[in-house]
């Protein structure tokens, strides 16, 4: 009694701790990090974390130039602060140092008598326009008129310099800084206000909120569906209905310890991981059903079956702990915590558990001899190899947005691509290189767009020549220009020394200048002291079809048109967000596949220690192989790829599916035990089957694969009995 009271108290404390510490992770996708930290840093920089992160973007209906007043007020009330998209338009002072990169002939022209006369006429025509006085200030800074040429070359070629807030179609986009920390209730309110105002909107807040809303709905729906289904099964299978309360209490304890374990190891949870806890009911039912019979001490074999059932489930979750994906690890920790809590509950209340009895069912089974089993296994193994689909995970599998937000993403993506001019990429250059030559060589191959500020970087020789020209002749030219304007009645103060201070720019200085002009980052430093310059590829050009050996895949080096000085391989990385996240997730998938294999080996070793017979182990494992083949064929038929969710689901299929054949075999197919297998199998199908009703693709995929695998495993275990003495399948 004291033990029970202490356990209940501890559970209450664990639940209180979990409730206090439980935090939701905002966005599963944005939390993904590349394995190569340098690549991750370059990507994060290119993604202009300072510009897009922590902000929302709102576009009024077509033709409108402002947001509805009620919406603006609502945004302010909820703490959203209006802000500019990025840096202001390039100032003359920031642009002028780039004059040394102009072709020498243009500087010669500007300094010539003809050039000075043309400049005088330009200033005159401009200053005669209404409001033309503003030209005087600019003529003071740049008397010789290099700025328009520089703006053409550099400012307008910088990706994103024509900001989202100022598109060509004249409909502006309003940018707001999101209040911190993320408050889902607040985002829900503003989400509703934006929808009511019929404006387009996008931002991390809405990605996180819509995922959260979907998962919240899924948890509720799945829990509401799973509970009555399991209750029904218990009414059918358990003679004493009062034990329903026992299993419900055990599941509450299991949730408490699962959440406690998660809260101890993770600062915040992904919603999908929490939604996964709705499947605890199935696992727990399995432990309860099988362990409730062990006190009877019927046979050693039966106890071995229970051990193998719980052991394989345990090993399945332990294998997931070694994954790199936070989502997978969170699911593993939650599940192990839940498992530990429920097993502890059963042990504390073992006397109550001992009084549970089950209704027994009887049906005819088909004997399966070693030859038939071996042949079937070989056929399945061959199909496994032949039907193995591509291993790839797409980021879209992790997102669940409303059609409205999907439409907004497409809309804003199109606008952003219009600004940046194509698909972003990073190209490594050495600080000593002439970057324009490197870009020109690659652009000639069609790999990148030539319209980039990097193409206008002048070699050191050209820059030196320009500096000499400006230092020796600019002052006199400016004085002459001013005097000619005074004669026309215009007196603009002009600094004759404006160009004398300009000097040769090396690559770092050039990068710094461009960064001051652009609202988006234009480069990143490498560990070796070089630079990654950001370029764009043409989405419709030949560069989009990446040739072998020139893969622009994230984290893959590109053998570009020229090696780096010293012969090193020049790195070129695609910076497309989807490809970036896809590559990380696909890496996780492959890693999980390896863990899956390792877990399988561990389970085989574990089963060997229990059964010590190859035929028996093949019989136990066959349903998993069959399930894998079924999933592979389904993916082949639907054109899908094997993703990280399927891998995770396979681990669960191993955890639950192996138990049926293992217990059936160990208990020698006794009616009582087979009834228990049937109950646990149906309970699992109910638990994961309800996930088919989920809206979130992760939960839906997970439910579908586990249902398929568990269903096949259950069918195999309740239909076929392994008969080592029999060489043919025959009715038993």
């Amino acid at each position: 009694m004291k033990l029970a009271a202490a356990f209940v108290l501890l559970t209450a404390l664990a639940l209180a701790y979990a409730q206090r510490s439980l935090r939701m992770e905002n966005d599963l996708v944005s939390s993904l990090k590349a394995k190569d930290p340098e690549f991750g840093q370059v990507f994060e920089r290119a993604q202009s974390s300072g510009l897009f992160r922590g902000r929302i973007f709102v576009e009024p209906p077509a033709g409108a130039r402002s947001l509805p007043a009620e919406l603006s007020a609502a945004l302010v009330q909820e703490g959203y602060k209006a802000t500019a998209f990025g840096a202001a338009n390039p100032s003359p002072v920031a642009l002028l140092p780039l004059a040394v990169h102009l072709p020498a002939v243009q500087i010669e022209d500007a300094l010539s008598e003809k050039g000075l006369a043309a400049r005088r006429d330009d200033i005159l025509a401009g200053m005669m326009l209404p409001g033309g006085e503003a030209l005087a200030d600019l003529a003071s800074v740049d008397p010789l008129g290099f700025l328009p040429r520089l703006a053409d070359r550099f400012a307008q070629a910088i990706p994103g310099s024509a900001s989202l807030a100022a598109p060509a179609d004249t409909t502006p986009v309003f940018v707001f800084e999101s209040p911190k920390p993320l408050d889902f209730d607040r985002v829900e309110r503003i989400h509703g206000a934006l929808q009511a105002a019929k404006v387009r909107f996008i931002g991390e807040d809405f990605f996180a909120y819509e995922n959260y809303a979907t998962i919240q709905r899924d948890i509720l729906v799945c829990a509401l569906l799973a509970l009555p289904l399991n209750v029904f099964l218990y009414f059918v299978f358990i003679r004493n209905r009062r034990f329903l309360l026992f299993t419900l209490a055990g599941n509450v304890v299991s949730y408490a310890w699962g959440l406690f374990a998660g809260a101890v190891f993770f600062p915040a949870f992904f919603g999908v991981a929490l939604a996964f806890t709705t499947t605890f009911l199935s696992f727990n039912n399995e432990y309860l059903v099988h362990l409730s019979g062990t006190h009877e001490g019927k046979s050693k074999g039966r106890f071995l079956g229970v051990l193998s059932a719980i052991g394989t489930t345990f090993l399945g979750f332990v294998a997931l702990l070694f994954g790199s994906s936070d989502l997978v690890r969170q699911i593993a920790v939650l599940s192990l915590g839940g498992m530990a809590g429920f097993l502890a509950f059963l042990w504390v209340f073992r006397r109550v558990m001992a009084r549970i009895t089950f209704r027994t069912f009887r049906w005819r089974m088909v004997s399966l001899g070693p030859r038939t089993l071996g042949a079937a296994t070989l056929v399945c193994a061959a199909l496994f190899v032949v039907a193995l689909p591509t291993v790839a995970t797409h980021v879209s599998a992790f997102r669940s947005f409303t059609p409205e937000l999907e439409g907004n993403i497409a809309h804003f993506t199109a606008r952003a691509q219009g600004l940046s001019g194509g698909l972003p990429m990073a190209l490594e250059v050495d600080a000593s290189e002439n970057v324009s030559s490197v870009v020109a060589a690659i652009a000639a191959q069609g790999d990148v767009r030539a319209q980039t500020p990097w193409a206008f970087f002048a070699s050191n020789d050209v820059q030196r020549e320009n500096v000499v020209l400006l230092q020796t002749r600019a002052a006199a030219a400016v004085t002459s220009l001013r005097e000619s304007l005074v004669k026309l009645g215009i007196d603009v103060p002009m600094n004759p020394g404006a160009y004398g201070v300009l000097g040769v720019q090396d690559l770092p200085a050039f990068c710094t200048t461009l960064e001051s002009l652009s609202p988006l980052p234009v480069c990143a430093k490498t560990k070796e002291g070089g630079f990654f310059i950001f370029l764009t590829r043409d989405a419709k050009g030949k560069a989009s079809a990446v040739a072998p050996g020139q893969a622009l895949a994230p984290n893959s080096p590109l053998i570009s048109s020229a090696p780096l000085p010293g012969g090193a391989t020049r790195r070129a990385w695609s910076l497309e967000a989807e490809r970036y996240y896809d590559s990380i997730l696909t890496g996780f998938s492959r890693e999980l596949a390896a863990l899956f294999a390792a877990g399988l080996v561990a389970m085989i070793a574990y089963l060997w220690t229990l059964h010590r017979a190859l035929g028996k182990i093949v019989y136990i494992l066959f349903p998993v192989l069959l399930s894998a083949v079924a999933v592979f064929l389904w993916l082949r038929a639907t054109g899908g790829s094997l993703n990280i969710i399927h891998m995770l689901a396979f681990s669960l299929v191993i955890s639950v599916g192996l138990d049926y054949s293992s217990i059936a075999l160990s208990s020698r197919y006794q009616e009582d035990d087979m009834s228990r297998v049937l109950l646990t199998g149906l309970s699992t199908l109910a638990g994961f089957g309800v996930l088919a009703a989920a809206r979130h693709p992760v939960l839906r995929d997970l439910g579908m694969v586990v249902c398929l695998g568990a269903g096949l495993s259950l069918a195999f275990a309740v239909v076929f009995r392994y008969s080592p003495a029999s060489s043919e399948a025959r009715p038993s």
């Binding site: 338009n89 025509a125 401009g126 033309g132 009645g489």
Partner: protein, 190 residues
């Protein structure tokens, strides 16, 4: 902001003001909005001679110039004929001053102006009112930019209309200068 951008923007402002005057007579007084709307509805070509007197901080004396204005939907040509010859073309695609071309994508004010020009081409009064408050006194329309407007650098504009609804003069005062434009030889094609 580059010099030409500012320059072209302000040129556009002047023209906007001219056309805006036709649309801004929404209140009372002798000007009637609906008549103005009808007067300019279906406009395909507007030509006028403009005499402009400019003064400003850096002008040593008031500067008088003669301009040929030529407007068709989608294009405005502002051509100086005296005391020098120079042409500025303004269109939704940007500003063209001889060998200088400025697309509107790089200046917010420029974009606002081109958007407003578009509204004007369509005689869209509602779009005009997004940037200006309008007050009518007699045969003159006073337009003051809203504080939130990108045209707020304009202190104020006055448009004088003839009883025939033809524009007579436009006065524009900005932060640094002023311009008085007198219109003559106005020809309207529909």
């Amino acid at each position: 902001m580059t010099p030409l951008r500012t320059l072209a923007m302000k040129a556009a402002c002047a023209f906007v003001s001219t056309l805006a005057s036709s649309l801004a007579q929404a209140k009372s007084g002798s000007l009637d909005l609906e008549k103005i709307r009808q007067h300019y509805a279906g406009l395909t070509h507007l030509r006028a001679d403009v005499e402009q007197t400019r003064s400003g901080k850096h002008l040593l004396k008031p500067f008088v110039s003669e301009i040929k204005l030529d407007y068709t939907p989608g294009s405005i040509t502002w051509r100086y004929v005296k005391p020098f010859e120079q042409t500025v073309k303004i269109s939704p695609q940007g500003f063209d001053m001889g060998d200088r071309k400025l697309p509107p994508g790089h200046s917010e004010r420029l974009r606002s102006l081109t958007a407003m020009l578009e509204a004007l081409f369509r005689m869209d009064l509602d779009a005009m009112k997004k940037d200006f408050t309008v007050k009518v006194e007699g045969n003159t329309v006073h337009a003051t930019p809203l504080p939130s407007s990108p045209l707020a650098f304009v202190r104020g504009m006055q448009f004088e209309f003839a009883p025939s609804l033809a524009i007579v003069s436009v006065v524009i005062n900005t932060e640094t200068d002023s311009a008085v434009m007198k219109f003559s030889n106005i020809r309207l094609d529909k």
